[in-house]
């Protein structure tokens, strides 16, 4: 039977200090143009935690608003704060940078992170609110600020700042190896910590026992390793450990922005094949992409919208007769031979599964594509990304003579959604809608959705190929899979039948 999509969670961490300190755009600017006007202006364009919470796309991300609610608001959405906003939503939570810094220390298995002694005392009560296993609950005593400053000034440590003040640092893990320098260790600890937040959020909101999870797939875009195995891994197991998933093993899946969909397809296959009864797919956020388009936002006198780290977690289980199913027989794949033109990409990802099912493009109620927030991308000259994707799907339907050209906008309105996801690489691609879809399936609002992940592989300079995977989700027809017992019974019946048959031959 097809596996169920049991739960999904989404977290954001407001990280203004990391925008300045760790975002690639800012890091590069400090190297090539340290006195730049941009770096001077940037702090004036950073938002407060309250503004980030009240920002409508973020409220959609954690499930307090439906995506369609954004259609009612005039863009830019930064001018339309949500009066009823809350940092806690049915699908997730928006955390503060301070908590993340505390959790980075929790995630530090090699004593590479030093926190300032007073900060440890301040942040411990916040960490106590997370459902961390007992052995990870309590921070070790911190150090004096002078020692931290010595590490930063003399030993290449990366500062950890909250509210513009140094509250700790991340030391380098090797003198020579660039894969273990403090910048990379910091980046990877943030992936780990935000992955933990997403995982814990799923456990909490969906009442899942971490000990019941046998396998975890992590699908972000960073590489953990050293100079002998630069992308050796394994974020998945490192995250599972801090979540208290003691019975889990796991591995990392990489594929740029398409990785979450590759991971979901793999997870569904592992569950359907009976290898594991549950698989948790999750990803943490990317410090590198904080303030990525900051220059354009500052130039246009807008807030620097890329001020949050994103994370998500999705739990795939055996079919429970209730939660939506993942149609593993209706997967779309961008193959090596597909070609990289948008037309070829969309044909493989959209027409592929639709044709396999013998359906029309309009038989899918909702498509989830690259769900980037247009507030972020439009001022940067990249346009409204989801809208462009939906127009492409509609244009494909025109070329298949399923709709008229004049119906493109109507199609986009009916089968598309406005974008709300932060531009955190792997975070926007298809997966942000999975949680909303789950609710819409359970509420009987939709029958079928397609989740599409796309990725730009050329960035690694290994191939010019594009990439993408898609999958159809459907309402659960309502028949639950019976656990292993039924299979055993079938085996027993078969062996008894064979024995009887053999006996009859001997007669």
């Amino acid at each position: 039977m097809f596996p169920s999509l049991r739960a999904a969670s989404y977290i954001l961490v407001h990280a203004p200090d990391m925008v300045i300190q760790n975002g690639t755009t800012q890091v590069v600017e400090r190297i090539v143009n340290p006195e730049s006007e941009y770096l001077k202006a940037l702090p004036n364009h950073l938002r407060s935690y309250e503004e980030v919470v009240a920002y409508a796309p973020n409220q959609v991300y954690i499930g307090n608003l439906k995506p369609q609610a954004l259609r009612e608001l005039e863009e830019p959405w930064s001018n339309q704060p949500v009066a009823s906003a809350s940092p806690d939503g049915p699908m997730g939570h928006i955390f503060e940078e301070r908590l993340l810094i505390g959790l980075i220390k929790v995630c530090d298995a090699f004593d590479l992170v030093i926190l300032e002694e007073n900060f440890v005392g301040e942040i411990q009560p916040e960490l106590d609110k997370l459902q961390l296993p007992e052995k990870f609950k309590t921070l070790k005593p911190g150090a004096q600020l002078s020692r931290i400053m010595t590490e930063i000034d003399e030993r290449h440590a990366e500062p950890l700042q909250a509210g513009g003040k140094v509250v700790g640092c991340v030391k380098r893990a090797h003198d020579i190896d660039p894969n273990l320098d403090s910048h990379v260790i910091m980046e990877n600890l943030v992936v780990k910590a935000t992955g933990v937040l997403a995982g814990l959020e799923l456990l909490k909101k969906s009442d899942i026992d971490p000990l019941s999870i046998p396998y975890v797939i992590e699908c972000s875009e960073e590489a953990a390793g050293d100079m002998n195995q630069r992308g050796g891994g394994n974020f998945a197991k490192a995250i599972a450990e801090i979540m208290g998933a003691d019975n889990a093993t796991g591995s990392d899946t990489r594929g740029f922005c398409a990785a979450p969909m590759h991971a979901i397809v793999k997870a569904a296959a592992l569950v359907q094949a009976g290898v594991y009864d549950k698989v948790l797919v999750l990803a943490g956020g990317a410090t590198a992409k904080l303030g990525m388009n900051g220059k354009d936002h500052v130039k246009k006198d807008l807030p620097v919208f890329e001020d949050v780290l994103g994370g998500f977690a999705v739990l795939i289980t055996q079919n429970d007769g209730v939660h939506p199913i993942l149609r593993t027989d209706l997967v779309g794949s961008h193959t090596v031979g597909t070609g990289s033109s948008p037309q070829a990409v969309m044909t493989s990802l959209i027409s592929g599964p639709v044709d396999k099912a013998g359906m029309k493009i309009s038989d899918v109620d909702v498509y989830s594509v690259e769900m980037q927030n247009p507030d972020i991308t439009k001022p940067a000259g990249a346009g409204d990304v989801p809208n462009a994707n939906y127009k492409m799907i509609a244009a494909l339907a025109v070329m298949r003579k399923e709709i008229e050209r004049s119906q493109i906008n109507e199609f986009v309105e009916k089968h598309g959604l406005p974008g709300w996801a932060p531009t955190q690489g792997h975070i926007p691609s298809g997966v942000p809608y999975v949680g909303h879809a789950l609710q819409s399936f359970l509420n009987g609002e939709i029958e079928r959705a397609m989740i599409v992940g796309k990725g730009s592989l050329f960035l690694a300079r290994m191939t010019n190929l594009f990439d993408g995977v898609s999958l159809i989700m459907e309402k659960n027809p309502g028949v639950a899979e019976e656990a292993g017992v039924s299979k055993d019974e079938i085996r027993k019946m078969l062996s008894e039948a064979l024995r009887d048959f053999a006996a009859s031959l001997g007669e």
Partner: protein, 109 residues
């Protein structure tokens, strides 16, 4: 335009000469296409890459402009770009490209 692409455009121009180079842009937005076109004509407007302060003045067209479309096999064009032509704001892109060429390109053909 990313720094690596700027480097490639510069190298190709150095090797073959500006007369023999045509840049075809595929950007989906008029503004982004215009910035790329400006980079290979007037120079990198962000002053970040190898084309900062380097005015190559190259011939530059977008894939949805007739100068390019009329040069290629119509069946292949339809197969590869027909769908995007339906989706993109072709008029805005053409206008932006024409404007950049008029201001910065050394060629009027």
């Amino acid at each position: 335009m990313d720094l690596e692409n700027q480097r490639r455009v510069k190298e190709i121009t150095d090797e073959y000469g500006a007369d023999n180079v045509v840049v075809v842009i595929g950007g989906g937005e008029a503004e982004a296409a215009g910035l790329a076109a400006e980079t290979v004509t007037a120079g990198d407007p962000t002053y970040a890459g190898p084309l900062a302060g380097v005015s190559l003045g190259l011939r530059v067209y977008h894939a949805v402009e007739p100068q390019f479309k009329d040069e290629v096999d119509s069946d292949i064009y339809e197969e590869q770009i027909g769908m995007m032509e339906m989706v993109l704001d072709v008029d805005a892109i053409q206008e932006e490209m024409r404007s950049i060429r008029e201001q910065y390109s050394n060629y009027n053909d």
